[in-house]
């Protein structure tokens, strides 16, 4: 697997056993075509988007420290600099991340290599659509548009899919309120 040869690769990181390839958005289609044809990732599992608005604003008291986050070494109360100390998580490059989770089905059983392709965009920037590479990206990208408001250039039919057609706003953004009603309890008068 020569994932390091992916066109447009900005960074490659491995965490929790998962490989993430951060790719330049302008070269996303080229990178995906390379991954599909040369590396054998013929199955697009998922396109998720994350909104990191407010990520580094408030310090969070949590588990920090330790070489691999999540190992119990990082959660020992007695180890200095770990649990209890409120820190801000490392800031993210841009507001939105679009993750494409790829899987290689043709590799056969007992291997199942997976990779995550990550692109970073700000509000208003567009991401090239990968529908031409994996047709299954059709509805996934529509959902990302509907929920997060990230446009995909080259998508044949970018319309709302889960919300009403005339809905305003993008629900999964962090500045969109959860909505709902305040709950009235019968004891209150």
């Amino acid at each position: 697997m020569t994932l390091a040869g992916t066109p447009g690769l900005v960074e490659m990181k491995v965490d929790h056993g998962e490989t993430t390839l951060v790719v330049d958005p302008a070269r996303l289609v080229e990178a995906c075509t390379y991954l599909r044809d040369d590396e054998g990732f013929d199955f697009l599992s998922d396109i998720s988007s994350v909104d990191y608005l407010g990520w580094s604003d408030e310090p969070v008291a949590g588990y920090w420290g330790g070489p691999s986050s999540g190992a119990s070494a990082g959660r020992d109360l007695n180890t200095p600099g770990t649990w209890g100390l409120a820190r801000k998580p490392a800031p993210k490059p841009k507001r939105f991340a679009v993750n494409l989770h790829l899987l290689s089905v043709r590799s056969g059983a007992r291997e199942a290599p997976r990779v995550r392709v990550q692109v970073w965009v700000d509000d208003g920037e567009t991401v090239p659509s990968v529908v031409s590479v994996w047709p299954t990206a059709d509805w996934q990208e529509r959902e990302v548009w509907d929920m997060m408001g990230i446009r995909f250039a080259g998508h044949p039919d970018l319309t709302r899919i889960l919300m009403d057609d005339d809905w305003e706003g993008f629900p999964l953004r962090k500045d969109y309120p959860i909505g709902g009603e305040p709950v009235r309890f019968s004891g209150e008068e």
Binding site: M163, D164, P171, Y176, I178, G179, G180, E181
Partner: protein, 193 residues
């Protein structure tokens, strides 16, 4: 309040499910009480009410998880055919009872109201489960906080999802309401705020 001192059985209701004897009358009992005149039904009205209860056909309005439990009351263990209700009609024109089973979201609210309007009177609505009664655990931008915001509801059945026995309890209480002469919800209340 004339309902104190009078047991439900005096109103003609057969169930003795009111477990909390000291508690004041609930909505169910108050409705029965407010229409004391109608409790004295004519024989013909009683016969019509009896016929309505014995063959109240539900509409297939299964939305989410509650729909699966609604399907299981049709199955042989919880057999709703003994109450004459196994004929779930797909067409609302042929249905009497709308069991809203599952969470209703904004996009689905218009079809729900349309189905309700297409049903012929008399028609009853059971809000099955927590999501249909009050929005359930989903207090957010898209879920209707209770289906009684758009359709008048006769019976709310709690649970997430309610057991098939729970839904049948709701259906049987509806039958008892009808037998006691309580009119369907659209006559006595509108939609909630």
């Amino acid at each position: 309040m004339a309902v104190e001192g009078k047991r439900l059985a005096d109103h003609g209701l057969r169930s003795e499910r009111v477990l909390w004897v000291g508690k004041g009358p609930g909505v169910f009992e108050q409705e029965v009480d407010n229409l004391e005149q109608r409790v004295g039904l004519t024989t013909l009205a009683k016969a019509v009410a009896w016929a309505q209860t014995k063959s109240m056909w539900p509409d297939t309005f299964g939305l989410a998880c509650c729909a699966i439990e609604m399907m299981s009351i049709v199955s042989s263990r919880y057999d709703i055919a003994r109450f004459g209700m196994e004929a779930f009609r797909a067409s609302p024109r042929q249905a009497d009872l709308l069991i809203v089973s599952g969470r209703v979201v904004h996009k689905m609210a218009a079809p729900l109201r349309q189905i309700y309007d297409q049903m012929l009177e008399p028609k009853w609505v059971i809000a099955m489960g927590a999501c249909a009664s009050s929005g359930g655990m989903f207090n957010n931008y898209t879920t209707l906080q209770g289906v009684d915001k758009i359709v008048p509801v006769d019976i709310h059945v709690p649970g997430c999802p309610p057991r098939p026995e729970g839904l049948m309890e709701g259906i049987l209480r509806l039958h008892e309401k009808v037998l006691a002469g309580v009119p369907p919800a659209y006559e006595i209340r509108g939609v909630a705020e």
